[in-house]
């Protein structure tokens, strides 16, 4: 490893300062605030607050609505991460086979990533809203009783589809890069060794893609947990009932809509613990199965 030695003691800190400032202001400070508020309880008018220890946590964890949100989150995240990754991998493999216009397809595939989550949500809402959705009518013509405003499962399918659609681009990009990094000669060697295309994919390509896949698994989990707030907010607002209310959405709902700051902060802290332990788990156990070339 090459080391750059700065002649000046202050310069490295100055160069790091902008990033450090952003992290401090937008991550450590709010996180500290969340920790502080999670052990306080405010009076209804927000004029005073008192220390209540872990009472907020106890309350939140015994709340059936919270357990429901946890369950919704698991279903939502697993579905989004799974579909976003498998569909992206499928498309990346297919695009490799295209002879002409590869660049065009790739560019088109990457576009959805440039769309803001809330806009993406609106897009899907306009397509699938039961009263004015473009595709809702054809769906009903097909005999499907399409009404995500009443049917929780349909609402879930809709937000999963919207969240997946938006994340496919990102995954696609990484899978395409990952596939390109696999030497062609390995596939030729496999072809000569007698492997069919399908077999070569599962025994050579897929194992060699695991670093990419693992990275995307971590990123997609975090995406499904946090970044999908805008989509859920735009499409279902957590409804109908609480059938699409994820943990993050509930933090928002309890904190900014219902103004129960203590509960909301406690939930944030729990969420933080979940994400940290989930990522640690992924690195600890799943990474063992990753082959770094």
């Amino acid at each position: 490893m090459r080391r750059t030695v700065f002649p000046h003691k202050l310069l490295p800190w100055l160069l790091l300062a902008p990033q450090l400032a952003i992290t401090l202001i937008f991550f450590y400070w709010p996180a500290a605030q969340a920790f502080r508020q999670s052990v306080l309880r405010e009076d209804p008018f927000g004029l005073s607050s008192q220390f209540v220890g872990l009472a907020n946590f106890r309350k939140v964890l015994n709340d059936p609505a919270y357990l429901n949100a946890a369950q919704v989150t698991v279903v939502f995240s697993v579905l989004v991460a799974f579909f976003a990754m498998t569909i992206a991998l499928f498309l990346a493999v297919q695009v490799e086979k295209i002879v002409r216009g590869k660049g065009l397809y790739r560019t088109l595939m990457i576009w959805p990533y440039a769309v803001a989550p809330a806009i993406a949500g609106m897009l899907w809402l306009f397509m699938f809203n039961p009263s004015f959705g473009t595709l809702a009518w054809p769906l009903r013509q097909l005999g499907i009783n399409w009404n995500p405003l009443l049917d929780g499962e349909q609402a879930m399918a809709l937000v999963v589809a919207a969240a997946t659609w938006k994340q496919i681009s990102y995954n696609f990009l990484f899978f395409v890069a990952g596939l390109q990094a696999i030497p062609k000669s390995l596939l030729e060697a496999a072809a000569i060794d007698g492997a069919t295309k399908r077999r070569a994919f599962w025994t050579i390509v897929f194992p060699l893609l695991t670093p990419t896949t693992f990275f995307l698994l971590v990123v997609n989990t975090v995406y499904a947990l946090f970044d999908t707030f805008g989509i859920i907010h735009a499409v279902t607002s957590g409804g109908p009932g609480k059938s699409t209310e994820t943990l993050v959405y509930k933090v928002y709902n309890d904190g900014f809509v219902n103004l129960i700051m203590g509960d909301s902060a406690a939930q944030s802290v729990i969420l933080m613990v979940i994400v940290i332990s989930l990522t640690a788990f992924q690195f600890r156990f799943i990474e063992k199965r990753v082959h770094y070339g």
């Binding site: 030497p183 030729e188 060794d193 007698g194 492997a195």
Partner: protein, 352 residues
């Protein structure tokens, strides 16, 4: 084991023909080396036999089957790649067993074959290592082993030694030769290295811009090169080739000297080829070529003199005895040994 037939084999990319019709019969157990400079189409030719490149025209048969439309896996061949193409996520053992597993061979048989190949290639201590924990030479042997265990009809090697250092290359070359003698596999071997080509081959295909200029034994290729290209490519240091004018059985050298040569046409220009090692020093009063030395490289057993034909700027390389006292500025007279004169057509480059 099988014989291979190439019949007027052609390859075009987007209308541009790069392999211009190659015909050859490779008999069972023969070691054929395809040699040529980079870009001559030698790797393309091998990859066409392997089934990794399509065939634009002509046929390839392995054994008695025409394999034009068969996938690589259906051709019963094994190949060693220049970069070895070992599967990085598999151990040496798994790398070698991969093809056998796909062929659904019983586990006991797979183990036996892998063990046998590992013994032959001295790879036993490394069977459970990943390729990245191996040296270049060991990786090369694993690639060989992966091909060997398959016991295919034909063995294809694409510059298998070019990624090794010089010393290892010599060792591996000998090992490949020995392996071939032991297994008697029909082998097609691509290289740009003429030493590998000369030492390994039963027969050579010397390729030049997509054409097989000469298909012959190494001895024939060296003794009677079929074209000026082959003459210049095979032999080290390279053959001296220059244009002379024929005048009634006498060659007029670039410096104006006249030299009687057998086999000259009655008139016109010809390309005259003389190998450095085929020329001997003679006295100035016999018919000879006067060479003015520019420099002498002394190598121990012998020396190479670099100079020009007197009165011209045509370069000549001479092989001198190791005890030579010749030095820069000396004027030497050389004559070609009996029967060691090569004449080529200046238009077609073909041997006259």
């Amino acid at each position: 084991m099988a014989h291979i037939q190439l019949n007027d084999l052609r390859k075009s990319y987007a209308g541009q023909e790069v392999i211009h019709g190659i015909t050859m019969d490779i008999s069972n157990g023969e070691f054929v080396v395809i040699v040529g400079p980079s870009g001559c189409g030698k790797s393309t030719l091998l990859r066409m036999v392997a089934g990794l490149e399509g065939i634009s025209a002509g046929t390839i048969s392995i054994g008695d089957r025409v394999v034009n439309d068969l996938e690589p896996r259906e051709r019963d061949i094994a190949m060693v790649f220049q970069n070895y193409a070992l599967y990085p996520h598999m151990s040496v053992r798994e790398n070698m067993a991969y093809g056998l597993k796909i062929a659904k061979m019983p586990v006991a048989e797979i183990d036996a074959r892998v063990a046998k190949a590992a013994t032959m290639l001295e790879l036993e201590p490394y069977l459970d290592r990943k390729p990245r924990a191996l040296s270049g030479g060991q990786r090369q042997r694993v690639a060989m082993g992966r091909a060997l265990v398959r016991e295919p009809a034909a063995f294809l090697l694409d510059e298998p030694l070019s990624n090794l250092d010089a010393k290892l290359r010599v060792q591996m070359r000998l090992q490949i030769k020995e392996l071939h003698q032991r297994t008697g596999q029909t082998t097609l071997y691509v290289t740009h290295d003429q030493v590998e080509a000369m030492t390994l081959a039963d027969r050579l295909i010397v390729m030049n811009k997509g054409v097989a200029d000469q298909i012959a034994t190494p001895h024939e290729v060296y003794m009677t090169p079929a074209s000026e290209f082959v003459a210049g490519f095979i032999g080290s240091p390279a053959m001296n080739i220059f244009t002379v004018r024929a005048e009634a059985g006498v060659a007029v050298l670039p410096g104006g000297q006249r030299l009687p040569l057998p086999g000259l046409p009655a008139s016109g220009e010809v390309r005259l080829g003389l190998r450095p090692e085929d020329m001997e020093l003679v006295e100035g009063d016999t018919p000879s070529i006067p060479v003015v030395l520019k420099s002498v490289e002394w190598l121990g057993a012998d020396a190479f003199g670099y100079g020009v034909i007197e009165g011209s700027d045509v370069l000549m390389t001479l092989r001198l005895p190791g005890n030579t006292l010749a030095k820069r500025g000396d004027r030497l007279h050389v004559a070609a040994a009996q029967g060691r004169i090569h004449l080529f057509s200046p238009e077609t480059g073909k041997r006259l």
